[in-house]
Symmetry: C2
Subunit: 242 residues, 2 copies
Amino acid sequence: MKIDPNSSADLSVQIAQAIKEAIISGRLIVDERLPSEVELSDHFQVSRPTVREALKRLAAQSLIRTQRGASGGAFVNRLSFEDAYAQQVTTSTLLLSMNAVSFDTACEARYALERACAPLSAQRRSADHLATMRAETFRQGQPGLTDEAFCASDVAFHRALVDGAGNPVLSYQLAGAVEAMQPLMNMITFTARDRAVITGLHSRIADDIEAGDGSAAVAGLQDLEDETRKLAADVFAARAKR
Amino acid sequence: MKIDPNSSADLSVQIAQAIKEAIISGRLIVDERLPSEVELSDHFQVSRPTVREALKRLAAQSLIRTQRGASGGAFVNRLSFEDAYAQQVTTSTLLLSMNAVSFDTACEARYALERACAPLSAQRRSADHLATMRAETFRQGQPGLTDEAFCASDVAFHRALVDGAGNPVLSYQLAGAVEAMQPLMNMITFTARDRAVITGLHSRIADDIEAGDGSAAVAGLQDLEDETRKLAADVFAARAKR
DNA sequence: GACTTTTAAATGTCAGACAAATGATTTCTT
DNA sequence: AAGAAATCATTTGTCTGACATTTAAAAGTC
């Protein structure tokens, strides 16, 4: 691990990069302990605060974890699917909120990806995920649900659909697409009639999954996408008129 | 922005979290300047190095950028699609390499997601992306290409297919799935015959996209997935026998 | 042998200082 | 007066050295 003394980049950036490359390349393996901060500052010929800033950069990316005390130190962290989910969700959410992504674009992406999962979910349909989908569909039919709660339940339904594909890589990739839509969906006020239509489609999709009919589920998702976009278009049109 | 003095969490973590929440909630908007490090250390009643560690954590996630000099400081960063791509790719790569994800699982996820893009790519087929796909297909037919170069070209082909959907959110979501597969693909040694089959399928998919025939492209991708998995299975079987 | 105490090593935090970059201001020159 | 040069103030980047806190292991005690 070396840094370029002629580089104009900040030292802590260079050091973080050097360690990151060592991890990615496999020279540092999971759960391996990094040298202590003093040893690192000695190795890179920088002060301890600088080394610490570099380590904090890596910790922020879940690449390392630190432990205090004797036999403590910084350890290469096994990036868990949970950590990756969380990162993915915040990154996606910020991406959508900061870049003026249109509702249609986000919606298109989300449903395209979900349709990719549907055949697998139908093929591997698990009792667990089906039960979640049924439960959320039922919840959505309850009167007195706030718009936020309805949207949260919607997200839970779709997460179950995605997780039902039984592929953690898919679930991870889609976590962002599904969850990041929630703030956008929360902008929509649903009438009782809107909810009934959506809940009905959910119910139909759950039926299709249970029947193992992937292409029917895909069609159902297509209808749901069309419905969602129509709803959003109405809301935005009404808002523009005011 | 407040921190809990009774919390056992590290101060720099708490401070980073507080600022992060201010950004996500929109209380700090894009390009807004944060208070200077001295002001922050005063506000949170901690030392400057602690504030700096917090800021470095945020910088590592591209949430802020810093600038030196008068009228410098830390600014809320607009998370660009490029930054998000890069994060997504490294996260996905590490996730696959650290979690013993099987080749089949990763492959299944990748092709399921790509098939989600194909109809959109076919519908919006752009000369630019088609040209890239053709160029990469041609390159793959050249003799003397190393396995690494062949795989890199393969990735470029698929990126063009995905980007052709004209949906930046989709491109971002899939960047990880496509690129993270490369290290796994690099483990495979291709015979001339293998390459011919793959290149042929690529060519066929490009034709389908050009013709605007989404479902044919989906079928082509399905064939490509089957071929890839068969190839990988052979390689792993041969390796196990040795 | 089981329990308690001590010790050492590591990270977490602090204080104060200087270096370097950079925009703004002032001063000087023409 | 206009433009160029020098100066200044502000801010981040880095360093030094110290103390606090946590934690596992070693030493001591019963």
